[in-house]
Assembly symmetry: C2
Homo-oligomer: 355 residues x 2
């Protein structure tokens, strides 16, 4: 028989989870304090609407805003004495402390945090692919039964997520570093626009739009996330404030400034891979080119048709053989495809490591 | 006869400009200190390679890194006594001051700044559409002849750009605000990753990737841009540092924190429209729904097939007529299309302003 999951909260995350679990063969029941949300999510195919009296779930997922998570977890711990309970809150240690106060016997609660979402809210923006290839952090405590932890880990994998396990306190430091601080840097950049005369906004390009995209997220939700993780966030922000003071001091010192920019570039490149994949890694495709002008034009036509982001290239000539060599740096995963495409055009091509 | 344009510098911007101007019917000649770059750009269709001795351009565009722009402008002012000269440097007042020292008679130089580029460099990443719908700032000075300014404005429009005219000093303040400070905020966020243990990077999601994307840009280029605009950038960064200190103080004050987050959200939304378009502007599409469950499911299928980002919705019931009304908020430009799509499915739908 299919495992039965009760999802409390049919917003973006709860509804998406309902869609994904239904697809994976779970029997999903939906509840939301706004009954129209549960109705809409059910209409989308995310499960059936709870009638409360007959619910008997194997697993309960609390997918509400963080401020009501502890009381709902405490409530369902009492109401469903055999169910494993988890939640999707973005900060784990404060939720665990609050549950500890409300329901001291909570060994069936296993905290978790799917690292997925968008700047949108509500069931209409739900997607059954929301968790695919995303990280889902599970934060077990020593008192949890291993089989209960396994239930939550399997649920996460069944919706396509990659499970990472770490203690709640470590999780909270990590999200301060890679999620909450970046969010506030986006907020600081976007809020600084209040100082910018409207005509100057005409000069805004894609860069500032990318930096400020997540600042468009719901302030009420982020108020809860940030205040519940205030200590870890403050620690990181004080480091950023030191960096900012240093940066302001280096604006007239080109060498020191460039070193700092290089540190930023290295940090950005460490994230360029897909979610959770290895850092950017470049390979070089070298192509032999007969020494006549139309050859290059033909080659670029072939490369262009393959649709690559070519990051860097170098052209060298061999004066004896009267041929040239064009070396093109591309991401490792694309290099083989580019080489194949080029060779299909009748060129000689090799793959090598970047110098 | 087609106007003849000499482009000095066949990097991303110069090569893209060559592609776009060639397409627009200009006769384009390319020169680069690395002759292979000019050769590659010509191979892509961006013009023909300069042989220097016979060049006789009507317009010269200096599209090199900023540090060599003033000397090249001074050189071509002397070499081509009838040509109008412009450049594509990101900071205008220091370039103008340097030209003033090198070539005191520079009324044929009209500064400009196409607000287009990418984190990539070199002619292989060029695109004839790079300037389409982007802002191209022209920064005329009182001594410029209006017909020379008009030549540069027409060139910008001929490659699809939207021309904005402002004095060089105002331009430099504006780019500090909407480009250089966001760049440094991205750098600060990315460089802070040096403090993050590698396992914690597994928790990085799309948000930090967006915020840090532009930090991946070339540090050597940005060193030049930032040091040449250091005063304006410092002024803005000191304001950001004050905001950051305030933010750190509000982490334990939920109401003040939420107000600050709301300021960031407002700033982000002011940029959400397309480049140079109006700020985000929402309309509501209201749909009448017969009071039976499958109706909602059918409606969401229809909406889903239309592929919309639905930002918000509300479901209301009319107990007398036994129908419901679903109101969906979408961007103004999409509202009419959504309404049409919904009505094609046989629904009753209206368009209205957001409450």
């Amino acid at each position: 028989m299919a495992e039965s999951v009760l999802i409390l909260g049919a917003g973006l995350v709860g509804s998406s989870l309902g869609l994904a679990l239904t697809r994976a063969g779970y029997d999903v029941v939906l509840w939301d304090i706004a009954s129209s949300h549960a109705l809409v999510a059910a209409g989308l195919g995310a499960g059936r609407v709870s009638d409360e009296s007959t619910d008997d779930p194997d697993v309960v997922v609390v997918a509400t805003p963080p401020d009501v998570i502890p009381e709902l977890v405490a409530e369902v711990l009492g109401k469903f004495p055999d169910a494993v309970i988890t939640d999707v809150g973005s900060v784990k240690a404060p939720i665990l402390r609050a549950i500890d106060r409300l329901a001291p016997e909570h060994r069936r609660y296993v905290g978790s945090h799917p690292m997925a979402g968008s700047q949108f809210t509500g069931p209409l923006t739900a997607s059954g692919d929301l968790f695919r290839d995303r990280t889902w952090v599970v934060t077990p405590e020593p008192e949890n039964a291993p089989e209960d932890v396994a239930v939550i880990e399997r649920l996460a994998r069944d919706v396509g997520a990659k499970v990472v396990t770490m203690p709640a306190s470590e999780h909270d430091v990590a999200v301060a570093q890679v999620s909450h601080v970046p969010h506030l840097m986006s907020i600081l950049t976007a809020s600084h626009l209040r100082e910018v005369p409207t005509p100057n906004l005409q000069l805004a390009g894609q860069g500032i739009r990318d930096v400020t995209r997540i600042a468009g997220s719901d302030p009420a939700l982020w108020r809860q996330i940030l205040t519940s993780n205030a200590d870890a966030v403050r620690h990181e922000l004080l480091e950023v404030a030191q960096d900012l003071a240093y940066l302001i001091d280096q604006l007239d010192r080109p060498d020191a400034l460039e070193r700092f920019l290089g540190m930023g570039q290295a940090g950005a490149l460490s994230l360029v891979g897909k979610h959770g994949q290895d850092p950017l890694d470049m390979l070089e495709v070298t192509v032999e080119i007969p020494d006549e002008p139309r050859a290059l034009a033909r080659l670029f036509t072939d490369i262009g048709e393959a649709g690559f982001n070519v990051e860097d290239f170098e052209l060298n000539h061999d004066p004896i053989r009267e041929v040239g060599y064009l070396s093109i740096s591309v991401e490792r995963e694309m290099a083989e495809k580019l080489k194949t495409k080029i060779m299909e055009g009748g060129w000689q091509a090799w793959l090598g490591s970047r110098k």
